[in-house]
């Protein structure tokens, strides 16, 4: 059966900052959506279906598009809501990809957003840990000890980071370098949240230690922001853009839920940095995309890295090098904007994290690099293919999309 080519013809962002008190959710999303319509040269009437998602518990609004989507162009359109935690934005892109690839809908608007200042994201994230905490209470673990995990995601990330450092030889200096690289890239990105031009690894090393090995400078900010993109068939894309970015493939893979390596059911004992499911999702996505050697064929990577070690860890898990090689590749300068395989040229999630939108922004940033529309953050090398990633859940969900300047060879 012939594959229906799926291409990105427009992307749009809202302004991303800590607290958007000047707009409500629907208005915030409209900023991104209207920019997206303009970028694609399309109007709401041109849209055949809409896919949307966010993490509804963070804002305290259940299924917010029920009152918002009419303002975004979804009036009387088919609409599907896809939410999977930190991977939500990526899962929304996957949904839009499948909607076009199914042959049922030609032009699909994908929307992902988070307005964290309306609620309490850390409280939302702590509910994720309840199952693990409950099980450990039963096993007699001191509640005071568990309280040390507080702070939602950070308490979990330190386990993963320490394990990754042990396995790979990554040092705290590498973590500092990752933050400096990303925040400097972010300074070139008009849509990013935390811009720190000239930030050095030494500056990062001076920030407060939250819990070993993670310092304040290694952690993403909490962002209000929205992202939108329009995908359409390969045929229609060429009428809208000289150089559309094709979504060659999408794959997700889910592992057992185990925040600190031990699951609530007591059945799992695993290394939170292993992320075997990320490797599997990457393998499936590369296979579908016809990519045999990702290390040579991928020109740019946007791994989902809200914590510094994750940029290196996921670089490995996306099969872009052997396990344990990423720290040395970082040292070589290959991951820089002018490097051989630039990583997070947008500044990454460590600079901007509107949680529900973040995994979609990995895709839109790779698309902009392929379309040559990334402005000051455009990488120096020619970009033909890129990989975009999303991560979340109880460290157990991964989504991968492979993009290209040429359609899939089916």
């Amino acid at each position: 059966m012939a594959h229906v080519d799926v291409a990105i013809v427009g992307v749009g962002y809202s302004k991303h900052v800590s607290k958007r008190r000047d707009v409500n959710i629907a208005e915030l999303v409209w900023e991104a959506v209207s920019n997206c319509y303009e970028d694609a040269g399309l109007k709401p009437k041109d849209i055949d279906a809409v896919v949307t998602g966010n993490m509804p518990a963070f804002e305290g609004v259940n299924i917010p598009e029920l009152w918002g989507a009419g303002h975004w162009g979804a009036y009387h359109k088919p609409l599907i809501r896809i939410t999977t935690g930190g991977t939500t934005g990526g899962s929304v892109v996957h949904g839009a990809y499948y909607a076009v690839a199914s042959g049922l809908y030609d032009t699909v608007l994908a929307i992902a957003f988070e307005k964290q200042s309306d609620g309490n994201s850390t409280m939302g994230l702590n509910t994720v840990a309840l199952a693990d905490a409950a099980a450990q209470f039963q096993q007699g673990v001191d509640p005071g000890f568990l309280a040390a995990f507080g702070g939602g995601a950070v308490g979990i990330a330190v386990y993963q980071a320490a394990s990754y450092m042990k396995r790979s030889g990554c040092t705290t200096h590498h973590l500092d370098k990752v933050s400096a690289l990303c925040r400097n890239n972010a300074a070139l990105n008009p849509w990013s949240h935390l811009k720190q031009p000239g930030l050095t690894p030494e500056d990062v090393a001076k920030t407060v230690l939250m819990q070993y090995p993670i310092r304040f400078g290694h952690v993403c900010p909490a962002t209000d922001g929205a992202c939108a993109m329009i995908v359409t068939t390969g045929e229609k894309a060429l009428k809208l853009q000289n150089k559309p970015a094709y979504i060659l493939s999408c794959a997700s893979c889910s592992d057992e839920a185990a925040l600190m390596g031990i699951s609530g059911s007591g059945t799992t004992n695993m290394d939170p940095c292993a992320q075997e499911h990320c490797k599997l999702a990457a393998k499936w996505a590369y296979e579908l995309a016809g990519i045999k050697d990702p290390r040579r064929e991928i020109d740019v990577a946007e791994p989902y890295a809200p914590f510094a070690h994750q940029m290196l860890m996921f670089y490995e898990r996306l099969l872009l090098c052997d396990e344990g090689e990423a720290p040395a590749i970082l040292d070589s300068g290959s991951m820089n904007l002018d490097g051989e395989l630039p990583v997070c040229p947008s500044g990454g999630v460590i600079s901007t994290n509107a949680i529900g939108a973040s995994a979609m922004e990995r895709v839109t940033e790779v698309a902009l690099q392929i379309m040559g529309k990334a402005g000051d953050r455009q990488v120096k090398k020619e970009v033909h293919k890129g990989v975009a990633h999303g991560w979340g859940g109880a460290v157990n969900l991964n989504v991968v999309a492979v993009l290209s300047d040429t359609p899939r060879r089916s």
């Binding site: 509804p56 259940n62 299924i63 009419g70 359109k77 935690g85 999408c250 997700s252 592992d255 057992e256």
Partner: protein, 380 residues
């Protein structure tokens, strides 16, 4: 459609007000049973789409802890945060793309462990309606019921009659949790008034449960013993309830038009043998008759009075008892698809109807049936 996609197998838990099992256990049971009935093993390649809601789970990322029980470990998995029929829709899109051949679809929630009406209140416009605390799923439905009844002269007896029919049908469905053999309109009207004109027995009460279904294209579908083919599908979003006319189900009408066009149905009243409709309230079933084209606009009450939608009528609706018989948030629409497929296969037991070659199943999300999805199913 680019590929022929069939329902291969299904499984449902009993739907109970307070099940003696965790949601994970309920999901494990239906996932195992549906895979086994399809002849599939955990190591086979398939994709998994679940339907659940963070507010019903009481914590964020409601699919995260379902990976193991949903047989999604090391699988390509995703979640539609809507009614279960949307999970089926997303699974269908995945298969039609050609990237996947088999999808396991699961819908679930446990009403006994959350405040049943709170997720509905959290759906309301936070900038205005939430602040006033007047609108919830039932009060919003009461506004719609009254608007519809006033516009077309539909009586409270007719609305109550629908509830009585579904409660009586549910008595023949061993899985339904809300049943009353021999129920009549007077009994329904005598139940506690919630919001005028809605009384307690007109409401599809939330309960616990899970259901699963395997859909497939290609080899598995061709070799299946009694495949039920997905002939058409449509879905649509309508405006928020205060920004549209509540007299009709706009999204269901649009979805049905798409699904019928795909399935080649021009006269649903004569071409559809049976319907399983997701009615959160009794009046919604009358409105659905109209939106689905079983009768003309405003004729839902008269169509019901004709007896056409009873078990022995010419177009039985909700022979399973419908959502009034068993309403599991994020599973109800999927259960409608499963019940319609059971009828086509002749596996519906005591509530089996005589003729079911072509069936319609619907799902909905949001207050006043704001978003709808329609499936048209057919046998060989």
């Amino acid at each position: 459609m680019r590929r022929e996609v069939a329902i291969i197998s299904y499984a449902q838990t009993p739907y109970e007000p307070d099940a003696n099992a965790s949601r994970e256990m309920q999901v494990l049971r239906v996932a195992k049973a549906a895979l086994a009935a399809a002849g599939l093993k955990q190591e086979d390649r398939y994709t998994v789409v679940t339907a659940n809601n963070d507010y019903c789970d009481g914590r964020t990322i409601s699919n995260m802890r379902l990976v193991e029980p949903a047989a999604a470990w090391m699988k390509n998995e995703s979640k539609a945060e809507m009614d279960g029929a949307y999970a089926a829709l997303y699974g269908l899109l995945r298969i039609l793309s050609g990237d996947h051949d088999i999808a396991l679809i699961i819908g679930e929630s446990q009403a006994s462990v959350y405040a049943r009406w709170l997720p509905g209140i959290m759906m309301m416009d936070p900038t205005f309606d939430r602040q006033r605390w007047l609108l919830n799923e039932v009060s919003a439905a009461a506004l719609q019921a009254r608007a519809y009844m006033n516009a077309f002269g539909v009586s409270e007896e007719q609305v109550a009659g629908v509830a009585a029919k579904n409660l009586d049908n549910a008595a023949l469905n061993p899985l339904a949790g809300n049943k009353l053999a021999g129920a009549d309109a007077a009994k329904v009207l005598g139940s506690r008034k919630l919001y005028e004109p809605i009384s307690e027995m007109m409401v599809a009460q939330y309960c616990d449960g899970a259901c699963a279904m395997v859909i497939a294209a290609g080899e598995l579908a061709e070799k299946a013993e009694k495949p039920v083919w997905i002939r058409g599908v449509g879905f649509a979003h309508d405006s928020y309830l205060t920004e549209r006319s509540l007299e009709e189900m706009g999204s269901l009408k649009l979805a049905a038009e798409k699904a019928y066009a795909m399935a080649g149905i021009s006269d649903p009243a004569s071409q559809v043998d049976l319907a399983e409709v997701h009615e959160n309230f009794a009046h919604e079933e009358l409105m659905a008759y109209e939106a689905l084209g079983f009768c003309g606009r405003g004729e839902g009450g008269a169509f019901f009075d004709s007896g056409a939608t009873r078990r022995d009528g010419k177009l039985p609706v909700n022979t399973s008892g419908g959502a009034i018989g068993a309403n599991v948030a994020c599973a109800t629409g999927l259960a409608r698809i499963i019940e319609a497929a059971m009828q086509i296969r002749g596996e519906a037991g005591d509530h089996q109807v005589a003729k079911a070659k072509t069936a319609v199943a619907t799902g909905q999300t949001g207050p006043c049936a704001q978003e709808s999805v329609v499936f048209v199913l057919g046998g060989e």
